[in-house]
């Protein structure tokens, strides 16, 4: 369906206006100007912040520079989450541009994974794709792919090439028609009210009676508190790629169209704005 293809494009080309400022505690030789960028939602911070690094290094001495990391309002940003997930989870209801603080020292190594090179991002990304395919097809599709096919997925993401990526990714989205969907839906639910970083469990796209499971069914099973009960005021927003999909949307459709390039459906449950 032409409409559904448009959804894939809209998701891929989603951008977040962002303002990077240098942490005031960094030692600089002169004042650092903020740096503005449109960040692709589906990418990862280390892949799109070369210019940010270059910009701030101009005012710093090499000996004051350690591994770069990012923070929003006191929370270190996990580079291994897609940028759109970081924004939806931490900054959905704040004013744009998204304000990110750049650090070059005191790397928080309990909270953040190190990312010395972009090959770390590649390893992470491919590992997520593999895991998603373990859930969707018992790893059969990803294992049947050749090394160059894996590279195509990665290069598509790294170079922001929608067609290159989707020419390969569509294979990961196939399923036997008679089964009505994947074996399990690869998803992660992020909640502000939970100590653990996310919920990830087994959930099938179709019920045992053969009915398609919806986003509502998933939330009811995984985090019922996130749902608004009858007569109650809405406390939480369920956000995917910056929008609130209808809860009656079939999960299989969401998995095929609103998953990130890592093939996981990332769902953020955030407090509803009070005003």
């Amino acid at each position: 369906m032409a409409d559904d293809k448009d959804v894939l494009r809209d998701v891929w080309f989603g951008r977040i206006p962002t303002c990077f400022t240098l942490n005031p505690d960094e030692v600089t030789e002169r004042e650092a100007e903020p740096y503005y960028l449109l960040l692709p939602r589906v990418s990862y911070l280390p892949l799109v912040t070369d210019k940010v690094k270059k910009h701030f290094l101009k005012v710093m001495r090499t000996e004051d520079v350690e591994e770069m990391w990012f923070e929003h309002e006191g929370t270190p940003l996990k580079w291994h989450y897609p940028i759109g997930v970081l924004f939806d989870f931490h900054a959905s209801n704040t004013v744009l541009p998204w304000s990110i603080t750049v650090h070059f020292k005191n790397f928080p190594d309990v909270d953040l994974l190190h990312c010395p090179t972009n090959s770390m991002v590649e390893a992470h990304f491919m590992s997520s794709i593999k895991e998603a395919d373990a859930l969707k097809h018992k790893s059969q599709v990803v294992n049947d792919m050749q090394k160059k096919d894996h590279k195509q997925l990665w290069m598509g993401l790294q170079n922001d090439k929608f067609d290159q990526f989707w020419a390969m990714n569509r294979k990961l989205m196939e399923y036997p028609t008679e089964e009505g969907g994947f074996r399990y839906i690869p998803f992660r639910i992020y909640q502000t009210t939970n100590d653990r970083p996310f919920i990830q469990r087994l959930f099938r796209p179709v019920s045992t009676e053969g009915n398609p499971h919806t986003l509502f069914d998933l939330l009811k099973e995984m985090c019922p508190d996130a749902l608004t009960k009858d007569g109650e005021e809405k406390r939480f927003q369920v956000v995917i790629h910056g929008i609130e999909p209808l809860l009656e949307t079939p999960l299989q459709w969401l998995s095929e169209h609103l998953s990130h390039p890592d093939n996981f459906l990332h769902i953020c449950i955030i407090p509803a704005p009070t005003d």
Binding site: K78, H80, D109, V110, D111, L112, L113, H114, M120, A123, M126, S127, K130, E131, A134, L135, S139, P186, N194, D195, R196, P197, F198, Q200, R201, L202
Partner: protein, 256 residues
């Protein structure tokens, strides 16, 4: 379980058995429940003695580089490793911290002591256990990935490094949200399959978690105590029978 994987229920049963035994001999394992869910993980903290020149990084190299791969001169010897194992398995004291004192009783100056924290989690995606761990000096400095590679025995190092996805990498702990190292689980099913088949052919009951741990644990310094493997109810086989074929296959990455 017949095809190399284990379901979550069986995983929990295996963990309970392992815990029962561990509590009996003071092996130091505990069960950490995750708040607000029925999930949890096995945890063990261990002090390991590592030659000083290996635990304090002298130079920074890419873990995959050739120079690093063949730099064996500072590695722990087989003999030292064995001493460590015996010390921990001989001890029957229930207090893990005390028990570990035996491991780090090396002469001052020749080695330094690192604290390793091991977690065994269940991966519902791969339907296998996954080993997460982190390490720090006694002063609390976290070990980097390069530091960790330095603590891996050379026999395992080559095998681990030749397959990037199987290697030790950093990963977020799915329950704690903190940075850990882990051994990627995507090949676990493959190497567990022949092991389970062998046990089935001999009509033996196998504790999946314990057998798996005896394969992956030693790669990152976590030896499964002989007492544990001897325990009939846990694992009705002798350690020699279990370990020889497994070690053989671990050292040949192509067949893994």
């Amino acid at each position: 379980m017949s095809c190399g994987v284990v379901d979550e229920e069986e995983f929990c049963r295996c963990c309970r058995l392992l815990l029962q035994h561990s509590n009996g001999v003071g092996d130091g394992w505990s069960w950490e429940a995750v708040r607000g869910s029925d999930e949890g993980y096995l945890k063990k903290t261990l002090l390991r003695s590592v030659p000083a020149e290996r635990s304090v990084p002298q130079k920074h190299k890419e873990p995959g580089s050739d120079s690093e791969k063949f730099d064996y001169c500072h590695l722990q010897t087989e003999e030292q490793e064995k001493q460590g194992v015996d010390a921990s398995s001989d001890s029957l004291r229930p207090d893990a911290e005390e028990e570990d004192d035996g491991v780090c009783g090396a002469p001052a100056g020749s080695s330094s002591v690192l604290q390793f924290e091991y977690h065994i989690l269940y991966s519902c995606s791969y339907r296998t256990p996954v080993l997460y761990f982190r390490a720090s000096t006694l002063e609390g400095r976290s070990l980097t990935l390069e530091d960790v590679w330095r603590t891996v025995h050379p026999n395992y190092r080559l095998g681990l490094q030749s397959r990037p996805l199987d290697a030790i990498t950093q990963q977020e702990h799915p329950f704690l949200g903190q940075a850990f190292f882990y051994l990627h689980p995507c090949r676990t099913e493959e190497f567990m399959k022949p092991l389970l088949q062998m046990a089935r052919d001999q009509n033996r009951q196998v504790n999946y978690v314990l057998s798996w741990l005896s394969v992956v644990g030693p790669m990152v310094g976590l030896e499964v105590s002989l007492e544990c493997l001897k325990q009939q109810q846990l694992h009705p086989t002798t350690p020699q029978q279990l370990r020889v074929p497994l070690r053989g296959s671990i050292q040949q990455p192509k067949t893994l």
